[in-house]
Amino acid sequence: MSIFSKYEGLASALASVTAGGGRNPFDVVIEKPISSTVGLIEGRETLLFGTNNYLGLSQSPAAIKAAVAAAEAYGVGTTGSRIANGTQGLHRQLEERLCAFFRRRHCMVFSTGYQANLGTISALAGKDDYLLLDADSHASIYDGSRLGHAQVIRFRHNDADDLHKRLRRLEGTPGAKLVVVEGIYSMMGDVVPMAEFAAVKRETGAWLLADEAHSVGVMGKHGRGVAEADGVEDDVDFVVGTFSKSLGTVGGYCVSNHAGLDLIRLCSRPYMFTASLPPEVIAATMAALTELENHPELRIRLMDNARRLHAGLQAAGLRTGPQASPVVSVILDDVAVAVAFWNRLLDLGVYVNLSLPPATPDQHPLLRTSVMATHTPAEIDKAVDVFATVARELGLNRAA
């Protein structure tokens, strides 16, 4: 018996995705970025609407320059974890920069955003504690709950009343209660009603962790996320985020005003047992953060673009998520149709993400797009036109 025999179901599911002669969606290669919004795929210039590069900063000249200078000054790697092999000055600088940006006293930087959730959640919620997770939480949050030993309870997506009900059931039980929500949910682009969750947190004495991976640099007057936009930052005990979305690099972090966060460095396995961020990534991240702070107009342009794409897709007769945000998903009913749709979009020069159940809410396949501040109105209109064309080809566009 092969060690891979347990994946026969997966293999046949993948085979069915490519059965119609289409591409393997997990094997598409972006050969070269031409700009933040255009990449070379299959030798063709293709509009990028699926990179999460919300502010276009992966191609920031300032960040590139900073990365080159850091590599020349410090080398290209750290070759070990901070706990075992030492913290470098740049790690400290980055943590101080993030503390200043978020107006928080403590910060821990992780090597990826995934590890930031894994390392924070698994260490904060211990054996005798309870973790309360939104039903639509990202895999990194669920995986963090599995790496830790807390009892895990799901509440209905974005439903603060449902959370309250579940916390009420725990009244009188010992142990801390840690609630985890996301600022913007990555599949549908819907925004958390953070003020409602903050009110439940205040009333029940629970702890609140907000994963603002998709909302930092996007929401709030200064780009600090949904908690800032809703005026409830003081109620959020821990903010977790990533550098790989609006900041255009890679890495993750947790910021907090609780001094105990520094103890987590000594018990968070995803922090302790992995190599720390290399100098060029840290330098690029700090430069991108400066760009984010100095260019609030990027956020305005991003939301204008998000509204333009959302409205355009709806006008084309397609079903989308509930609100315009930098993640705009077209919701379909049938996986084979979603696969065909996605292939035709790429044929016609638009790259989006094909998201399939069970990674999506409600078992619907999604054509997930992400918008950038650097998309031009003409690029967005072109993408909408291509969506409308393919929808017509497949007989999908409802009366617009």
Partner: protein, 83 residues
């Protein structure tokens, strides 16, 4: 507490049968994943419905040990008794 494993099991079966996709011949010994063809997400969503009906929260780690409808019923009864 008035709930017994049998009464909770009957309630779970009744809730499941409200879903037309669920096979009609299920009973307490039916396996939730194999016999109902539920994936992990469907199991969690279905348990959420039962939780609301019975005003109880089933921690996710407890689900790992549950195979049949009766297993789920026994778990819920023990959680209710503990609370």
């Amino acid at each position: 507490m008035s709930e017994t494993v049998a009464s909770v099991s009957a309630l779970i079966v009744k809730t499941l049968l409200a879903n037309p996709k669920v096979p009609r011949d299920i009973n307490g010994s039916s396996k939730i994943v194999e016999d109902l063809a539920f994936d992990s997400l469907a199991v969690m969503n279905f348990v959420m419905e039962i939780e609301d009906t019975l005003d109880v929260s089933v921690p996710l780690d407890r689900l790992a040990d549950i195979r049949t409808i009766d297993d789920l019923a026994a778990c819920i009864v023990s959680l209710k008794q503990a609370s």
